[in-house]
Subunit: 149 residues, 2 copies
DNA sequence: TCTAAAAATGCAATTAAGTTGCATTTAATT
DNA sequence: AATTAAATGCAACTTAATTGCATTTTTAGA
C-alpha cells in the first residue's frame, strides 16, 4: 500500500487553505485534493460523482459554492469547456497562467503548464488587459492513435 | 439617406450563402446581415430581440439552428462569453482566426482581427492541434474612462 | 410554371447547468 | 464550553439550449 501520495496531497490541500486564510472543511479539503491529484481538469459532474460517493459533499449546491470559492481564492482555476460548462483544476503553486488543451473527441482538458501565453502582441489603443485565456483544441495523445487505426 | 451600406451588407450576406452552397432563407440572410454589421459579437439574446422584432425569426429554436449552421459552414464564428453563453460574429472574409477581447464590465466581445494567435510555442508530444482560441479580458475603451472618473 | 423532395421553420415539451433564499450545522475564537 | 460568523443542505427556481414532430418553404427537375 502506498498511502504516502494521498497524505502528501492532503497536506498540500491543507497548506493551500491556510495560505489563503480559508476555513478548513471536509468539502474544501476533499475537493481541493481531487483537483490537485487529477491528471486533467474535472467537470462539475465528475467532481459531483466523486464527492458524493465518498460522502464529502451531500449537495450539488455546496460543490458549486466550494468551487467558486476555490477559484475566487486563486487556489483553483477553471476553464470553459466547449460544451459550455466549466472544468476545474488546481496546482501546487498558486495558479500561474498557462494554456489549456481540450480534446475534440474525449473533451478532456489538459493543463499545459509550460506554455505560458506571452504578451507578444500589441492591443489596440484603450483596451486594458487583465487576463489572457489561451485554449488549444484538437486531438489528445490518447485519442490520436485510435483515429489513425 | 444612405441605404447603400445596408444593401452592401445584404449582398455580402447573400454572396456568403452562395459561397457555401447554402439555401437562402430570410432567417439566414437577416441573421447573417446582423452578424456582419454589428461592431461587437452578439449574444443569442441580443440576436433574438433584433430578429423577432423585425419578424425575421418567429422562434428561438430557429435562431439557435441558424447560428449553429452558420458556424458550421464557417460563415460565422462564435466566442464563449464569460457568462457561459456564446456570442456570434461574422466577417466579410470567411473566418480567419483572430483573438477576442471581452470586457469584464460591459461583457462586450470585440474581434481583434489584426491579432492572430501565432504558433510560437511547441505543443507536447502527441497533441494534434486543430484550433487556437485566444481570448483577452479586461476593460474596453468605452468602459475604461468611466472607471478613471 | 408547376410539382416533388429535401431542407428549414415553428411549436410544445424537455433537459441540464447553475442560482437563490432560508433554515440548520459547523469551524474557529474567546 | 459558549459565541459567532461562515459553510452546508434542502427546496424551489431561472435560464440556455435541445429534441421530436408537424408544417412550411426552398430549390431543382419535369
Amino acid at each position: 500500500m502506498y498511502p504516502m501520495k494521498t497524505n502528501t496531497e492532503q497536506n498540500l490541500a491543507q497548506q493551500l487553505l491556510w495560505k489563503v486564510n480559508g476555513r478548513t472543511t471536509p468539502a474544501r479539503l476533499g475537493v481541493l485534493e481531487l483537483l490537485l491529484t487529477a491528471k486533467t481538469a474535472l467537470s462539475h459532474q465528475e467532481l459531483e460523482q466523486a464527492a458524493t460517493q465518498t460522502g464529502l459533499v451531500a449537495d450539488r449546491v455546496t460543490l458549486y459554492r466550494t468551487l467558486d470559492w476555490l477559484v475566487e481564492q486563486g487556489i483553483a482555476h477553471r476553464i470553459s469547456s466547449h460544451d459550455r460548462t466549466w472544468r476545474y483544476k488546481a496546482q501546487a503553486e498558486l495558479a500561474s497562467p498557462h494554456a489549456h488543451f481540450q480534446c475534440r473527441q474525449c473533451s478532456q482538458v489538459f493543463c499545459l503548464e509550460n506554455l505560458q501565453p506571452a504578451l507578444l502582441f500589441k492591443l489596440p489603443e484603450g483596451y486594458q488587459l487583465e487576463d489572457i485565456e489561451l485554449k488549444l483544441q484538437g486531438i489528445c495523445p490518447t485519442c490520436a492513435p485510435k483515429n489513425a487505426t
